[in-house]
């Protein structure tokens, strides 16, 4: 049996349903084998970076491992941004890349790159296959590592001649000496945590992406309801807690809701679950919630005390840890209740009301609120990065996990459209996937509209077009005295014609009164659609925490002039 055949058999055994990629010289045997075996659906994308993002979107939407394939050299280097994106957000992914034949290695051969070296800091692990006899262990091992423990991307490099080499198929037990994904459980602090919870008058739960990864949303809801604790989420935690729930505070952080950020600032106890205290979520680490006790729960022991010091910590899978904690608090009775605290929170939530102007210029929040209403909050949403992402996070309230997919850690522009492709393939219902986009990001992966069209994917791009790199422009306006250095485009593409030429439908909306009709029409139209919403160029995302400060140091539309 050839190496390529073994590779495909391993992928079959892993139950791979879809892979994203582009063939090239160093992976032809793999593609040839795929041609014969039809092991899974292969999506031929237009750029390898999109293959990685699509695999990532597929993984986030389905909870399964995303797979992408690229050739050696430029094919593999094009994956790098996508791999880094997955690494930062703990997404399970396996990237299979070709390499020049072993005899050419190290000679700067055509399309040779040290992709293992290039990706060392952004993978959970990587494998170099040096003989056909290693294929089984490497591929099965890569999937095992990618999906267990704290998930992450794994890269496999397979030289061309190893794909052609004949070998004997042999299945074996896969284990790695130093890798025990369940080896770090530590629940000793449960009594301490319970004590903190009993004494707390103003507790807040801060939930992160770990809840979604471990499928712990139900346990989180149970804990919040049992102890009457309001819940804020990080950007990655959107979907960890139903955002229309009375205890939901929405997203915390740099562009978090006032309720979430004020509650964190006034809290006397913060229960952080599946969260790494990113600076975007909590501001300056040293000044974060200095008067609160902090219970930190995470799967990865390296996260404890990395960014914020914990007064008690629990290490383990969020679902199991929360179950243990629920058990421990089952007898707990709240003596004073949380009436006062919760009333305060309701008043903060009241503060954050937006005007939905139904005529005049198109406001970005009106677009997102309309999309939210028309999809009953149940759409699978992906975002690009920048203002569009923050507006989406603030105004599209998510009901459950794996329905809001965004590049949180790396902040990758051009992520949303290919991720939407991947996500829509993960969702067998065939329902539309909304990609909330800005014009800057959109143009970074626009070629994938063609992929969406070829596979008839129901990806609807809500393009919030402000003819600029909006978030940087916002910073320049607020902190660089309006020196708009290189953020405003002097011309713009004809987005409708562009969409049509790539096989999508498209139309432009420049009046608020047309917004709802346009979204409804997009939802009813099969295949990919781009709605070019022309929004005011000067539109900003508020509230905004002053960068490098604390969550209570906030700029809003109202206090803007006074700063």
């Amino acid at each position: 049996m050839t190496g390529a055949e073994m590779i495909l058999r391993c992928l079959e055994l892993e139950g791979v349903e879809v892979a994203f990629g582009i063939p090239g010289g160093a992976v032809i045997p793999i593609y040839d084998e795929l041609y014969k075996r039809k092991s899974f659906k292969h999506v031929l994308v237009r750029h390898e970076q999109s293959a990685a993002h699509a695999a990532d979107g597929y993984a986030r939407a389905s909870g399964k491992v995303g797979v992408c394939i690229a050739t050696s050299g430029p094919g593999s280097t094009n994956l790098v941004t996508g791999i880094a994106t997955a690494y930062m957000d703990s997404v399970p992914m396996v990237a299979v890349v070709g390499q020049v034949a072993r005899s050419f290695m190290g000679r700067d051969a055509f399309q040779e790159t040290d992709i293992i070296g290039l990706t060392l800091p952004i993978v959970k692990h990587s494998f170099k296959v040096s003989s056909v006899s290693e294929i089984y262990r490497v591929i099965r091992g890569a999937f095992y590592i990618a999906k267990t423990g704290r998930p992450g991307p794994v890269l496999i490099e397979i030289p061309l001649d190893v794909q052609r080499e004949e070998g004997v198929w042999r299945e074996e037990e896969i284990s790695f000496k130093g890798y025990n994904p369940n080896g770090f459980v530590s629940l000793d602090d449960i009594p301490k945590a319970v004590e903190f919870m009993k004494d707390a008058e103003r507790p807040v739960i801060l939930a992160g992406g770990g809840i979604i990864i471990s499928g712990a949303t139900r346990e989180l809801l149970a804990l919040a309801e049992k102890l009457e604790v309001p819940v804020a989420t990080s950007l990655m935690g959107k979907g960890a807690f139903p955002e229309e729930h009375r205890l939901s505070l929405g997203m915390a952080g740099m562009h978090g809701t006032p309720a979430a950020n004020k509650a964190l600032c006034e809290a006397d106890l913060i229960i952080a679950v599946g969260l790494r205290f990113s600076d975007r979520s909590v501001g300056k680490h040293e000044k974060f919630a200095t008067s609160a006790k902090i219970i930190h729960m995470d799967y990865d022991p390296a996260e404890i005390n990395k960014n914020v010091k914990a007064h008690a910590y629990l290490i383990g899978d969020a679902k199991k840890t929360l179950k243990e904690l629920l058990e421990a608090v089952s007898e707990l009775k709240l003596e004073k209740g949380r009436k006062e605290w919760l009333e305060k929170i309701v008043s903060w939530k009241e503060e954050f009301k937006i005007e939905l102007e139904k005529s005049g210029p198109v406001r970005p929040w009106y677009v997102i609120r309309s999309a939210w209403e028309l999809t009953k909050g149940e759409a699978l949403v992906t975002t690009e990065v920048g203002q569009n992402q923050m507006w989406a996070a603030l105004y599209y309230k998510v009901k459950g996990p794996r329905r809001f997919i965004t590049s949180g850690g790396l902040g990758t522009m051009g992520y949303g459209l290919p991720a939407a492709m991947g996500a829509s393939l993960a969702d067998p219902s065939g329902k539309p996937v909304l990609n909330i986009s800005g014009d800057g990001s959109f143009m970074m992966s626009v070629q994938e509209l063609d992929t969406c069209a070829r596979y008839n994917l129901p990806v609807k791009v809500l393009l919030l077009n402000n003819r600029s790199l909006g978030m940087v422009r916002q910073w320049q306006e607020l902190f660089f005295e309006k020196r708009y250095s290189e953020t405003i485009y002097s011309r713009e593409p004809d987005y409708v014609a562009l969409a049509r030429s790539l096989g999508a439908q498209g139309w432009t909306v420049s009046e608020a009164s047309q917004v709802r009709d346009a979204i409804e029409r997009a939802l009813e139209t099969p295949g990919p659609v781009v709605i070019n919403f022309v929004i005011p160029q000067e539109e900003k995302v508020f509230p905004m925490m002053v960068p490098g400060t604390t969550l209570d140091n906030v700029i809003t539309q109202e206090n803007l002039g006074r700063r």
Partner: protein
């Protein structure tokens, strides 16, 4: 503060890059690193010395533990440990001052491992301070070449109940 970490890994190509890269990108300068295979086949032991506080050593230990090929990590500097370094020193020592040089290095329990017309190659083991002192003493004669292994270190055995 000087931190000494001992890391047990699978002996794979690339492990060194993963380990050093992990420390480097956190902004710490590796002062010394030594690695070698140990008895059991396929296992290597690293001794890594770098400057940082207690918390940074703990953080690096946690991050190192996440590497798939890393089997165990121990922060030796947060306890009792023994540490040695090996150095080879090629020193000018012609016949007229050779006895003098030999007498001096005897203080450092040094051994002669090579001899020629112009000079000697000496082997010195010990902790960093001892080797520094030996180099200082030999400097006036003219050191032609110098190589140092970097630290190897091990936790002390200790005594039960002691």
């Amino acid at each position: 503060m000087r931190q000494v970490i001992s890391v047990l890994t699978e002996d794979h190509p690339g492990v060194l890059c993963r380990i050093v890269g992990l420390i480097f990108r956190r902004g710490y300068n590796v002062e010394s690193l030594s690695v070698g295979r140990i008895g059991e086949t396929g296992i290597s032991r690293f001794t890594i010395v770098f400057n940082g506080d207690r918390e940074s050593a703990r953080q690096i230990m946690s991050q190192l533990r996440k590497l798939i090929e890393v089997i165990d990590v121990d922060i030796l500097s947060q306890g009792e440990f023994v540490e040695r370094e090996l150095s080879l020193i090629k020193v000018n020592a012609k016949s007229q001052n050779r006895p003098e040089v030999l007498q001096l290095v005897d203080v450092f329990r040094s051994r002669v491992v090579d001899v020629g017309e112009e000079g000697l190659v000496l082997e010195v083991t010990g902790n960093k301070e001892k080797i520094n002192a030996c180099i200082k003493v030999l400097s006036p004669y003219g050191i032609k070449e110098l190589v140092r292994s970097g630290s190897v270190a091990m936790r002390r055995v200790g005594f039960n109940g002691g």
